[in-house]
Point group: C2
Chain length 512, copies 2
Amino acid sequence: MNGAESLVHTLLNAGIDTVFANPGTSEMHFVAALDRIPGMRCVLCLDESVVTGAADAYYRVTGKPAATLLHCGPGLANGLSNLHNARRAHSGIVNIVGDQANAHRPLDAPLTADVEGWAHPVSAFVRRTATALEVGVDAAAAIAAARAFPGQIATLILPADTAWNDGGVVAEAAPPAPAAAPAAAAIDEAAALLRNGKPTMLLLGGAAMRETPLGDAWRIAQAMGTKLLVERSPARLPRGRGRIAVERIPYPIDQGIAAFTGIAQLIMVNATDPVGFFAYPGKPGRLTPEGCVLHTLSTPGQDGAAALRALAERLEVPALEAPDPGPRLSPATGPVTPEGVAQSVGALMPEHAIIIDEAISFGRGFFPRTHAAPPHDWMMLTGGAIGAGIPMAVGAATAAPGRRVIALQADGSAMYSLPGLWTQARERLDVTTIILANRKYAILLGELAGVGANPGRTALDMMDLTNPALDWCHLAQGMGVPAARAATLDELNPLLVQSFATPGPFLIELVI
Amino acid sequence: MNGAESLVHTLLNAGIDTVFANPGTSEMHFVAALDRIPGMRCVLCLDESVVTGAADAYYRVTGKPAATLLHCGPGLANGLSNLHNARRAHSGIVNIVGDQANAHRPLDAPLTADVEGWAHPVSAFVRRTATALEVGVDAAAAIAAARAFPGQIATLILPADTAWNDGGVVAEAAPPAPAAAPAAAAIDEAAALLRNGKPTMLLLGGAAMRETPLGDAWRIAQAMGTKLLVERSPARLPRGRGRIAVERIPYPIDQGIAAFTGIAQLIMVNATDPVGFFAYPGKPGRLTPEGCVLHTLSTPGQDGAAALRALAERLEVPALEAPDPGPRLSPATGPVTPEGVAQSVGALMPEHAIIIDEAISFGRGFFPRTHAAPPHDWMMLTGGAIGAGIPMAVGAATAAPGRRVIALQADGSAMYSLPGLWTQARERLDVTTIILANRKYAILLGELAGVGANPGRTALDMMDLTNPALDWCHLAQGMGVPAARAATLDELNPLLVQSFATPGPFLIELVI
């Protein structure tokens, strides 16, 4: 058995059966091993940002790492920004980077680069395998690191000779690490805070944004009269009928600060101290008011669901059903507005859809009109590195056959990872992409105003995507994805109906 | 004057008047400063690989750094693979990365990342500016580093507050550093080696691949009976009528080794010890035979032209005109072959064209049929990080108005940086892109055979781009670039004629 074969067996033994791949020469023995050993689903991606964004979403949906296959330092580099997002989402990924053979590396051939240097900032685990004998144990260690709660990126660097040499030994990965128990004192303290009568907010993040802990948090909030918010950009938030309707921390700095105004105590459940997405001249960096008590009920690595359950019991909050969100709305009509898009999507989406939201500036008002939609999951851009949406749709649809993935996608951001559409076509993934084509970097126009600058010709030109206008129907068709254009909600609705009823990908250019 | 304004003035004072930009929120004051201060050409790119690939080619054409403008760590990350290529090309770039304000950085907002960690592997200079006061001097230091011979990447990290705060001071950059003189002893030794009668080769790289040193090297080779080769992937090689016709080190390992067979002495001029692009089981990593004497006439940082001139004088080699390459060939006809494509391009290209060659496997036979073409420059993928071609065409055409840029572009590689086509359309750049559409990762099929693997279904699927086939005319039109398809050389020729006669970009999907 060569090293590459021991790697494939070690992955499969640990239940890791999906690899998103953009291989090169140094990975040819790994590819050959995938040929010989059945059981691994190989999803070919035409650039590495698709590989890593897909692996991120795969984890968010399944709670199980996928493997990646990247080619040398530059291949890793192309995937780093979506690994950055994955790190912010606490997604577990077994990130495999093929590299020059060990003896060849000192010769500094053209593709040789500092793989470790690039990997460390996003990885909890980085290891370069030295020999074929060690590939199995190193892979097992990487798998264990990737599965450590709440999910981590483990980068395994695989020199070509360790893949092609004989002497591979299959290893067994440690089972997934459970979340650490919350501290009893933290629960005591939270109960005391909630009983002291001061204005309090519960802020939920990470793994505390699941159906059960959300329900417990909401019941605590109802009983104790506290506010309840979730992180600005949830990795995954269960929404729709039967789920608790919560709002996110708003993105614009003034709204973000306003959300915390008057709060004297913040109880964080798998969330961290809320801060502005950026700093702005003369405005605070922290969103909480001066003097606000910050209390960590559970860290992102702890079991927030258990913490909330214990806290609810301690406070003896009554059982309560989630409130009825009212009747499901009908599709909206007329000119395109954010609320109208949300209403139509909410009205027409099938049950258990997965929403990939990289709508950026256009997407801030999507939540209210989708509360009464069927149960669905909402997944957002966690790290702010745009270009995650199309790749995440690939990963989510790969992870959840039978569930419709709906990508609400800003046009400027979509340009960073277009080739993901090709993989959607190739794998016949059930993805409906709505390109929100405002033909500008709208968020930057807002930000430019936010920093007090008064844009002139040069600045406006730098935010303008009309010269020429991108033609998304052409771009999609070029990638093998059927597409159509809509300029009103009346034109959007039948396209949604048709796409949701038709297997495979479809793209709608929605001119906004 | 705020820090951003001091940065723009410092750049302009040093003659740096072109910025390739993909800005974000933290760069809004820089953008506003560009508004207020005339003189900087701002080229908007829709992803960062276009920014950095364009800056690389801009330097290769002009010998002068451009500035970049990137957004935070993930923006830098997206540009790293083309910075890797630029580093291998010895291209000077003032690589400006906007970042979180200094006070905001410790709060670990979502986009916060290890910018320095990602920058160091490609940068000779990395500095994070601390205050607005220091922006000017830090920028001047970055400019000096970028202009150090033979060109380096200097990364200047610009926290948002250092851009927006008042107190900026314009600074003056040190003038461009000249190449270091070659060592007299190295010239003596080379002369002795060339006179000892043993089989010898001159290998030229970097800045030694200019018209004058190439002529000197060729005259030495003629007089002393030595072989002459240039690096595998020249950053820029002057070619065509009146220039010396030289061949490159072949890419395939067996041909690479064969090129050096029988050589007892290798004299390297701004080149380094030739090694295989990758290692292969049972094959050597170095291309030179065991026992071959390696002699450095000049390092990449030294003046190889002066070294060759001195060596030619020492050896008293006679003046010789470059040999006549024979009559210019006519366009080729019939089915598409590499030689036929080269012949047609060579037959039809205008004078002083710039060829961007990311043809990969299809492009190995392009040189012989273009020797008799008009004078032109040939620029290749120096670092092996595919996806450089379309961005490099942007940078070369920006740098050289009036010269036609011809991009010979493999299809798989083109997928990494498609949005560069949009910038070509927006800036009305004179770029003719020929997509060599083999609809597969042809090089990997060769490499898989090279490592002795016998591909099965899974492996073949991972190298197959026919399911679905990419439609390049749709993709180009989606980006605003007119396009047409050709399946024979007879169809290619009139499209080349038409594009070369028409200002602005054009894309030809050549089905091969």
